[in-house]
């Protein structure tokens, strides 16, 4: 069995792989399968980002040319979708994570610890946990900085953060320095990150005191599993 074709083919090749997939792939799949997964349209239905509308305030003619009209649910969805494509295609996710871990005091730096329900939407397919943090985590970036800041930063990151190693993305701009459709879309996408949190847009309590205590969304409540408390203070 251990040295035969059938043993190697069926047990090692097929059997062990399928076993591993059942345990490590199918199981989490089944655990989260009843979590509703939002489409971009459903996200847009929840309302437009201030920052998306603000792009129209600053560049009304260009905005209407690229999106076919003033801000609406439809062109907000289109911008989010295109922004996600750009984020993936430019490999932003290789230098920026979208995951705040419960350790290493990450919640002090970035904001609330990431939660399974946050990833249940079309724009996390495939999920963008990230693999390396050359730049900061982006999952709580929405409304943290203004569109202006992002414009200057995409056009030439060192002009805003002199020490940064982020590449320039001049092709997000037309020749005058106004953002083109991709530029507006990627800014919309980045400004959207974290906008689902009750804390948004004040991640550190720098905002007004909550008149009602923040409640997590209805789709929340996925078990976080043991050991997810912030133990970053041990070293």
């Amino acid at each position: 069995m251990f040295e035969t074709k059938s043993g190697v083919f069926a047990i090692a090749g097929l059997g062990f792989f399928v076993l591993a997939f059942l345990v490590m792939g199918l199981l989490p799949w089944l655990i989260y399968v009843d979590q509703p997964e939002l489409t971009v349209e459903q996200i847009a239905e929840q309302g437009l980002l201030h920052e998306f509308v603000e792009l129209h305030e600053r560049f009304p003619a260009e905005f209407e040319r690229y999106f076919g009209g003033p801000p609406s649910k439809e062109n907000f969805a289109a911008a989010l979708r295109r922004g996600h494509e750009v984020y993936v295609g430019e490999a932003c996710w290789h230098c920026h994570s979208q995951q705040v871990r419960p350790v290493s005091r990450e919640s002090e730096r970035w904001g609330p610890v990431s939660h399974a329900s946050e990833y249940q939407n079309e724009l996390q397919r495939p999920v963008l946990f990230g693999t390396r943090r050359v730049g900061p985590d982006l999952s709580r970036e929405g409304a943290r900085r203004t569109n202006d800041w992002h414009l200057a930063h995409f056009y030439n990151p060192t002009s805003v953060v002199p020490t940064t190693v982020m590449p320039v993305y001049t092709w997000f701009f037309d020749e005058r320095g106004y953002p083109n459709r991709d530029g507006m879309s990627i800014i919309t996408y980045v400004q959207w990150l974290g906008s689902w949190l009750p804390e948004y847009p004040y991640y550190y309590g720098e905002g007004p005191p909550q008149l009602t205590p923040p409640t997590r969304g209805a789709q929340d409540g996925v078990a976080q599993g043991p050991g997810r408390d912030d133990d970053g203070r041990e070293g």
Partner: protein, 479 residues
């Protein structure tokens, strides 16, 4: 113990009797040439990307030279251009020798060669035009995925055909290969299609984790170890030390390796008990690896001089030392304790460079060092000293890069935990990134020595020695 070397076994196999060549030597050579080309392209892409980290990117502002996109070309070029091509060439060399039967079809083999080059080129073009898929190591555009999968199935059919005709127990190498063909197809299908079309959210993270690690553990690793089990006994002219350890190594790897993937996403929203499981199986893999390493070093015992006299053996065993290092490192870094600090840092980048180049790259380059003069019909290398340069520049470059990035990762991780300003971690990393670029340059220069040597060896080979299929028989007999 069933050690089969190419010189043993009967020659009166039906296909040979019908006049078909056992081995397409020319195809092996083509694969190696393609592999080396992609290797140099991918390494230059990595070097280009490393310049971005020095804030001196020479092609800034050109969309097609976006550093992020070239970073994808770097990893995918290495995986699908360099490593896959080299392994395919190696398979065309080894499988017919081990089974004493030719592969499924000559036309099919050539078709696969061109189809695979088309897949790799399409991937590069797709990545450079911004069509990546958000699966690490599987960024091949979604429209390339089905084609690539079809190609992998054809590869499996082509090579399983002769293997499945072998009667009785198979040699170790073939265990690894049979399993690898099954695994590669399944892994690629899983990683390229499930997270994109069927599973979303954190669960897709679990599957991506499986894919990332299975690509290393179930595609590259079994082909690599199969290659070691084939070439090391041949070059040392002695059998593998322990058949029992070979069995432990293969079956342990087959059982534990597919379970490890989620260790890429520790402390993520993936259920915690699965993260624990991934950590435990990762540590188990290290124990299994130790048995394999022991087996090979005991095989070397008494022939240690081969490390000095035989360059391919030196490549192989250097790779094995690196393999043990990286697996030992993995057993620690995949624990929750280490992950607190080193996740998302350059530590992991150092680790993956040591694995992909320091281990599998070294094995493949050693294998090519052994085979290429035979393939092109030259008596030997044009300049053996260039091969030595190739080895030493690669080894020192890899070691420097590894330690450089591992230390950089620790510094980054501790700075982040101490809530230092983000810019401080960039400033602190700058010297390490410079060192990384320098060590990368060393590696690339080493590869240029090798590439130049290959070209010169081919140009200076004796007249009339074309690398053609007609020679295959004498080649087969020569080893």
């Amino acid at each position: 113990m069933s050690v089969i070397t190419a010189s043993s076994g009967a020659i009166n196999v039906p296909a040979l009797a019908a006049g078909r060549a056992l081995i397409e030597t020319r195809l092996v050579w083509w694969y190696f040439a393609a592999s080396l080309t992609y290797m140099i392209v991918a390494m230059l892409a990595g070097f280009l990307f490393s310049l971005q980290f020095l804030q001196h990117y020479p092609l800034a502002g050109i969309e097609l030279f976006s550093p992020g996109r070239w970073r994808l070309v770097h990893t995918n070029g290495v995986a699908y251009g360099f490593i896959a091509n080299a392994f395919l060439g190696m398979l065309h060399w080894a499988v017919p020798r081990l089974t004493l039967r030719p592969v499924r079809g000559r036309g099919l083999s050539y078709f696969i060669f061109f189809a695979w080059q088309a897949v790799v080129l399409a991937t590069v073009v797709g990545l450079l035009t911004g069509q990546a898929q958000a699966v690490e190591w599987g960024e091949t555009p979604t429209w390339v995925d089905p084609v690539a999968l079809a190609g992998l199935i054809l590869v499996a059919v082509n090579f399983l055909h002769p293997i499945l005709q072998v009667q009785g127990p198979m040699y170790v190498t073939l265990w690894y290969y049979v399993a690898a063909f099954v695994w590669t197809v399944l892994v690629y299908a899983m990683g390229s299609f499930l997270p994109q079309y069927f599973v979303g959210g954190a669960a897709s993270g679990a599957i991506i984790g499986l894919f990332i690690h299975d690509l290393v553990g179930l595609f590259v690793t079994p082909l690599g170890w199969g290659m070691m089990y084939y070439f090391v006994p041949i070059l040392l002219k002695k059998p593998v030390w322990s058949h029992g350890l070979s069995l432990v190594g293969f079956w342990g790897l087959a059982f534990f390796y597919p379970l490890t993937g989620i260790h890429h996403f520790l402390y993520s929203p993936i259920p915690m008990f699965l993260q624990y499981g991934a950590v435990i199986s990762t540590i188990a893999v290290e124990l299994v690896v130790t048995t394999v390493i022991i087996n090979f070093f005991m095989t070397l015992r008494g022939r240690g001089d081969a490390l000095r006299t035989n360059l391919p053996i030196r490549w192989f065993y250097t790779g094995m030392v690196f393999y043990f290092t990286t697996c030992l490192q993995c057993a620690f870094q995949a624990t929750l304790t280490f992950q607190k600090i080193i996740h998302f840092t350059d530590w992991v980048v150092g680790h993956s460079h040591l694995v992909m180049f320091g281990v599998f790259g070294f094995w493949l380059l050693g294998m090519m060092t052994h085979l290429i003069p035979r393939l092109v019909g030259a008596g030997g290398w044009f300049r053996p000293s260039w091969n030595a340069w190739h080895y030493w520049l690669s080894t020192i470059g890899t070691l420097v890069m590894f330690f450089d990035l591992v230390i950089a990762g620790l510094i980054q991780g501790f700075q982040w935990r101490d809530l230092a300003p983000w810019e401080d971690s960039l400033v602190a990393s700058a010297p390490f990134w410079l060192t990384r670029a320098v060590s990368g340059t060393m590696i690339i220069v080493g590869q240029f020595f090798f590439a130049a040597n290959v070209v010169m060896t081919m140009l200076r080979r004796p007249a009339g020695h074309g690398a053609s299929a007609g020679e295959s028989m004498s080649e087969a007999a020569a080893i």
